[in-house]
Amino acid sequence: MTRPNPDDPRLAAFLRQHRSPVPPPALDLEERLLQNLPSRTRQPARAPRPLWLMAPVLAAGLLATWFSYHSVGPLPPDPDDLVSLESFLENNWDATVEEDLDVGLFPN
């Protein structure tokens, strides 16, 4: 590496030339270090979010909703029920309308 700012180069060169030597490491230092490392649970790589799946999933959801609404819609009424409902309305219609007219059009 070249020195980035070589001001006072004579002093720096003198210091580098006469610096104390660094004693070599113990032969087993590297192995001791690796053995002393606390174990770390491997973190699985985070899978990228499949954003491209969002549109097909939304479309499929809408289609499923539409089909379920039309296929599992309200059941057709029973013909016997329709007959009894019709007769009930015919029997009670006049009385209901007259009561409403009396109350609604001529208040006291």
């Binding site: 590496m1 070249t2 020195r3 980035p4 700012n5 006072d8 004579r10 002093l11 720096a12 003198f14 210091l15 580098r16 030339q17 006469h18 610096r19 104390s20 030597p21 660094v22 004693p23 070599p24 490491p25 113990a26 230092l29 590297e30 001791r32 270090l33 690796l34 002393n36 490392l37 606390p38 174990s39 770390r40 649970t41 491997r42 973190q43 790589a45």
Partner: protein, 187 residues
């Protein structure tokens, strides 16, 4: 093994990611890549005593801290910051470290080389000139003039502005130069 087939010059960032996932062999490669400079910095800041223990402490702290390491900074800069913290803790732990270091500087001979007497004399002077500095000034001088790190990286390592790095470097050099000149070293 996860990384056996991969080239040695894999970027630090890749190795860091593998380490975060628990791959100790990637951490071995980070250690092999950076331990020499970490060792050198620690030796200049704390002396050769307990050097292996201090290096081990630096890398243990790095392993534990890697999951929180934000890779906006260089791994080496982050590692040097841990080195600085370990050195600072070590210095606080020894109230008499200066005397201890001076004693070691005189007492520990160099068995690896056989330099001449002048070489030994100059080495002793350099060590004593560094010992007289405060740890802050000494750290800047060691990182810049001995380890040749740029101002910006030193600032990030020590957590101080670049201007403060330059100021400390100026004062540290002046003190060292004055000491050496008083000892008769022609600079």
């Amino acid at each position: 093994m996860l990384t056996d087939c991969q080239p040695d010059r894999e970027p630090d960032s890749v190795l860091v990611q593998l380490c975060i996932q628990g791959d100790t062999q990637s951490f071995r490669r980070l250690y092999q890549r950076h331990q020499q400079r970490v060792r050198s910095i620690l030796c200049q800041l704390c002396g050769p005593s307990q050097l292996d223990d201090l290096v081990q402490e630096v890398f243990l702290r790095a392993w534990k801290g890697l999951p929180k390491f934000q890779q906006t900074a260089k791994f080496s800069t982050w590692l040097y910051r841990i080195t600085w913290n370990v050195a600072s803790d070590q210095r606080r732990g020894f109230a008499k470290l200066r005397v201890h270091l001076q004693t070691l500087a005189h007492a520990v001979p160099d068995h690896h080389q056989d330099p001449g007497l002048m070489q030994l004399h100059y080495r002793d002077l350099v060590q004593r000139s560094l010992n007289q500095l405060s740890l802050d000034h000494r750290a800047v001088l060691v990182l810049h003039d001995l380890e040749e790190l740029p101002h910006k990286e030193i600032a990030e390592t020590l957590g101080i502005p670049v201007g403060t790095v330059k100021s400390r470097l100026f004062h540290a050099r002046a003190a060292v130069r004055k000491f050496l000149q008083q000892e008769g070293v022609p600079l």
